[in-house]
Symmetry: C2
Subunit: 341 residues, 2 copies
DNA sequence: CTGAAAGCGCTTACAG
DNA sequence: CTGAAAGCGCTTACAG
């Protein structure tokens, strides 16, 4: 925290009696220098306490070695979405391998199309950006590479999604086959900020299609807005349980919602699946050990994240002309039937 | 993703027939310019698609508007520590207010004392850095402001901690008063990377002191290494339950561990608190709704995080000489007795 | 209200 | 193997 003037490459050069070029080489192209020169430079640098200035280096090289993780909302999203934590963990592992840093870019404040341009990153990963999201415009205008995860498939960008529609279709079909005809859908409510989560939107469509294809009326499904927090499970359950007529099953657009419902049902002494069957989505680690274990849709999260990031890194390295985005990468989903149905 | 040459401030100046200074002013000191000049500049800039280069601006101003969040391990830490997610959410809220960005700095790869100097951030928040951690050295050598959260109190830096020792003391005392004499301590095991979590270390000392002060032998407490993952709860419980002699209670160094034990006990048909009393630490939102609700230590997390960040922002703004760190800010803990004991 | 000039601290062809 | 020079794209006293 000292205030004294920064030691620059120039200072080292002067002190070591070499040119600035040599000092730069000592760090970035050591083989260009004789052993003795290099050693002398490094020694002097250490003596003076020289630390290359990362920002100056970035300006000269054009590389920040940072990727921006763009979220659809504020960072508090992480509290509602354990899946986001899982993704962060995966991304962290991959970025460590690639020696890239992670900059968090929440969607708050300035959301104009030029917003991404103000961020010092080599490329971006955008999470759950819907075509109506303010940042959807910046997707098309970005002057730097980006990839989208769980995004809106109508946007023109490399896309790494789940097969939400068919997964949801399977989940709903599963309940219909078990004879359920009054099914609540536990989903996210309209948000104040108007943010829509594309994957949830697709899942709704999948549920509805399964009902339609079974020749049942749309009223078979009744949406209920519930929160993605385990601690709100009591509320979630009560909202569902107080529907009239009372549903016999609930499809949740996310596991965290389903786990909340399970918890609420247990507190209320309602038996799952006896009185209420529950299906989640995503297959969180916790879903295998809940009481009862949760029927849900299983995905290969690490695989998908890795492909997405490798694609991004390739785009950053390539730096070629604006070409058409690759076809969407869609991870298939498998219904994991456990004891909650 | 276009490759064409970047539009610079210089281009805008030329096109608008003004000096580079004027263009810079149009963005950063609009009042210095006449309305008409400013409008003309902004219009030309928009026409040309000019976007100020964030890195160049940073080099000139010396401000990145970014803080680095330094973790004791890789980013996968987030998967084991819901409390870290809670902190991230809080930090996100505060950084939004201050228009600061968040750069994630996991402790991987280069951990030399100069590591922090290579990071483009105005300051740092260090989480859970122990005096034996490789990054402890960079704390003292940092040329930029930093604050520590849940850090090692022997390090010389602004410190924002919990009163871990006394909290743990209360928890253990509580069990002793209930008559427990065989108490397992569910804690983190030695990590391959050697990372020690200072708050867990202090909590252990608090448990031990309570036993000592009660005139009981140290063997009253038996440490068991368990994972901080709900999905590992079965393992955690079994490790504890298979101790010989069998404990009647367990103190966990974190709520997530305690919740795992609760889950494992339920699966095994072991009644809590009847057969086994369980105490956690931290008071996660989920701990109030577990079965049974968890006895734990309650803290004011948002308040502490906010003070820590305000302190950091003040240090960044001040930019004064290396003075003594303020006295540690220690949040008191309150024992929240619920049905698990 | 406006502009010429120096500076932020690096990297990297280029020439020797 | 080594160095002089231009460049990365801004900001900001300073002078007018």
């Amino acid at each position: 925290m000292s205030k004294k003037k920064r030691v620059t490459l120039r200072d080292v050069a002067r002190q070591a009696g070499v040119s600035p070029t040599a000092v730069s080489f000592a760090y970035n192209a050591p083989h260009q220098l004789s052993q003795t020169t290099r050693d002398r430079i490094i020694d002097t640098a250490n003596e003076l306490g020289y630390q290359p200035h990362p920002v100056a280096r970035t300006l000269a090289t054009g590389r920040t070695n940072t990727i921006g993780l763009v979220m659809p909302t504020g960072l508090d999203w992480i509290l509602h979405d354990p899946l986001f934590s899982l993704m962060l963990g995966e991304i962290g592992t991959i970025c460590d391998e690639e020696k890239m840093r992670i900059l968090i870019v929440p969607a708050v404040g300035d959301l104009s199309p030029g917003m991404l341009a103000t961020i010092a990153a080599d490329g971006f990963v955008l999470f759950s950006i819907h075509r109506n999201h303010p940042l959807a415009k910046s997707v098309e205008h970005s002057n730097r590479p980006l990839v989208m995860i769980n995004g809106d498939e109508s946007l023109r960008a490399p896309m790494f999604n789940l097969d939400d529609f068919n997964g949801a279709y399977l989940a709903c079909q599963h309940l219909l086959e078990k004879g359920h005809r009054r099914i609540a859908v536990g989903t996210i409510g309209p948000r104040e900020d108007g943010v829509i989560i594309p994957s949830f939107e697709r899942r709704m469509l999948g549920y509805e299609a399964a009902v339609r294809d079974a020749g049942l009326p749309p009223s078979t499904l009744r949406p209920v807005y519930i929160r993605g927090l385990l601690s709100m499970g009591k509320d979630s359950f009560e909202k569902i349980w107080s529907l009239d007529p009372r549903p016999t099953a609930v499809l949740c657009v996310s596991d965290v919602r389903a786990l909340g419902v399970l918890n609420g049902a247990r507190k209320a002494g309602v038996s799952v699946p006896g009185d209420l069957a529950v299906v989640g989505f995503d297959n969180l680690p916790d879903s295998a050990v809940s009481t009862p274990p949760l029927t849900t849709l299983k995905q290969d999260l690490p695989g998908r994240i890795r492909v997405a990031l490798k694609t991004l890194f390739a785009l950053i390295a390539d730096d070629t002309e604006d070409d058409d985005p690759p076809p969407p990468y869609i991870t298939p989903l498998e219904l994991e039937v456990r004891e909650s149905t």
